[in-house]
Point group: none
Chain length 402, copies 2
């Protein structure tokens, strides 16, 4: 954890209050220079605007000024874990999200199906974004890989993405990526960053050699890139730290992965909001804390599709009344990080947050957007502080000191 | 550094973006109670006001609430070095700024020429602010000082200020100042704050005895006060930490000293803004990061000259278009600390900052002043965070985690 406040016994257990945390991926944006309006400014958000008036608002920063987080660190921060301290390889998150049998001592990595030319140079790092169905078929093919003394499991994620889990003695995760990040060059030679990882490099090289042979006849996905080696993470569990029975509703596997790593119950679901809400409703009675993930804002931002991001935001707004219908004592809607469409990438900019509860200061802001939230009563704070606010407004944190 | 974020290899090198950091010394002020306006409120600043509308603003704090920094710590903080961790004696900074031969193991200190009466009591701590030329002459005179086993070098700084470097075995810098800070009393007896510094006290006392004899016939500068003992600092270098070729343009030697200590290239120049800008222009192509220092705002504030500080601020504003003409991807104008004219001293008050870049949230503030910047999107943050923001807006920081 960021700090030991929670484990100092501040927690009042046995309450029956509920917390709903809606994470709109890549929520924050920047103004389009032609209009001066950000995605949130441009979107018609009657329900979120009403919350910005009746609830408390602020901005949250996952890693502090200037640092842009990946999805893993950004989510860990929101769940209250210092992302500089608790580093998880993306492969580990993917493996968990895919439901692969992944245990302490195993090492996971991400696979990207890619296209290489006759000289072995990468010509497309995403193999033309092959459909998920094709990815599953190719993963089954890689099931034929045999490495002495090591168990290997491969599973498809979305489109060209997959994950692999290696189980065997002496496997460590200090290994660089083979993904060169650019095209026109061969994949990087795998490099052990620590002596203990030499065995992992040997195993991964065997895996890549056999994969090359198995995929030789395929087009466009005739090779894999491997990256994000990560051991199974050992993290404090939310049930113990916060005393909450926690539920994660996320359509995209990686987010179930990070939720599962901190001890949340995860439910497989499609990533459409109406289906996620359906799952949430059916599991609501059994949990104290639910995390609901909305992916498409981030994808739209990363594609530089300002209008689509606006549209997804309006869709989220449309579902807000259904979320509030569950009557959580604490409702928080925020993002894991910003993804300004004009940047086509994650960014370091702080993320708007709105919190509604009977104990929230009503800020009376004119709307839910970056420019308004910075005047909110919650100020600008680290994302790692959100869980304490959630617990406080749920009356689940005891007074500290007499 | 404040944290190890940078050294964790987050840095994307090889970019061709440029950062210009303009440090207006003692920038922040307080309202004159008669008008209710601070120096920044009172100044006519059309160009800075425009930046406050189109760029991102905030307030920065060098040492946290309540702590007033000297120029050394305030600058170290701006360059990203935790000033509580990296403490450099002011003498060390002066010695470096003056280009004295100053190496690892040496101890430097500042000298102030002063006036003492027949009883040895200090009657003027600045010897009537003797001209720099006179200071040089007196420093040459002190060149006659001989201490067995120790090399001594003295050099003039500005007006009554000079610096001395001692080189010899067993010299440590845990020594108090002789400057009593008030007049009417004798200089303090030098005090070793640690056992290891006894030899340094002995050497410095010998130096002061001989100085007293050599200056006996002078008027008004008939003695020196010694203060700010400091060993040569060993600091992480900006080139390694940030991957930046860095340039310091500062007319006043002390600021070149701190810049040089963190690995910036320094160029000797006059301290007039037009000449500093001339130097900046001629070196611009060869650097990724340039730091430009404006001294006279601080001097005016320390003299309690509100009107002069306003005038210097307006002069800075006049030069802003010339700074922007260099087309830095990131332009930041801020101060190292506040120097409110009504306090006639440095202060702890947070310092306004404006950042302009294509990726900066346009804050739309009505002007560049303390009262507006506190509503800016950058919030109130430690000065040590400025470099991360600069690198982020220059697209020089990689995403952290997947």
């Amino acid at each position: 954890m960021t700090s030991s406040e929670f484990t100092r016994g501040l927690l009042a257990e046995g309450r029956d209050t509920k917390i709903l945390l809606v994470v709109v991926d890549g929520l924050g944006g920047l103004p389009d220079p032609r209009t001066g309006k950000s995605e949130l400014d441009a979107a018609r958000l009657p329900h979120l605007d009403a919350l910005a008036a009746s609830g408390s608002c602020g901005l949250i920063s996952p890693l502090g000024p200037g640092f842009t987080p990946g999805s893993g660190p950004a989510h860990l921060a929101l769940f209250g874990y210092d992302p500089w301290v608790h580093q998880i390889g993306r492969g580990a998150l993917s493996a968990m999200g895919l439901g692969l049998d992944f245990r302490a001592g195993d090492v996971a990595a991400r696979l990207n199906f890619c296209t290489v030319d006759a000289q072995g140079r990468v010509t497309d790092r995403r193999a033309g974004r092959i459909p998920t169905e094709k990815c599953r078929e190719l993963c089954a093919k890689l099931g034929a890989i045999r490495i002495p003394g090591v168990e290997v499991a491969v599973a498809a994620e979305m489109e060209y993405r997959a994950a692999v889990v290696f189980r065997g003695a002496g496997l460590e995760d200090e290994v660089g990526d083979s993904d060169p990040q650019v095209t026109g060059v061969p994949p990087h030679v795998l490099e052990a960053r620590g002596k203990a990882s030499a065995r992992m490099v040997e195993v991964a090289n065997t895996f890549l050699d056999q994969a090359r042979q198995l995929l030789a006849g395929e087009q466009p996905a005739n090779m894999v890139l491997i990256r994000g080696f990560g051991r199974y993470p050992v993290l404090p569990q939310m049930g113990e730290v916060y005393g909450l029975r926690s539920l994660a509703v996320a359509g995209y596997p990686m987010y179930r992965g990070v939720a599962s790593a901190v001890g949340m119950e995860t439910v497989e679901t499609d990533w459409h909001l109406d289906q996620e809400l359906e799952v949430l409703r059916s599991h609501w009675d059994g949990c104290d804390f639910a995390y609901l993930h909305v992916k498409k804002t981030d994808s739209a931002g990363e594609d530089g599709n300002f209008e689509l991001k606006v549209k997804v935001l309006e869709e989220v707004d449309h579902y807000v009344p259904q979320m509030l219908e569950l009557k959580p004592e604490v409702f928080i809607l925020t993002g894991d990080h910003s993804t300004p469409s004009i940047m086509r990438s994650h960014s370091w900019h702080p993320v708007p947050l709105v919190l509604k509860s009977p104990w929230a200061m009503p800020d009376g802001l004119p709307g839910f957007a970056e420019r308004h939230c910075r005047s909110g009563s919650l100020g600008l704070m680290p994302s790692t502080r959100v869980m304490a606010l959630a617990l406080a407004h749920a009356r689940r944190l005891e007074k500290f000191g007499a």
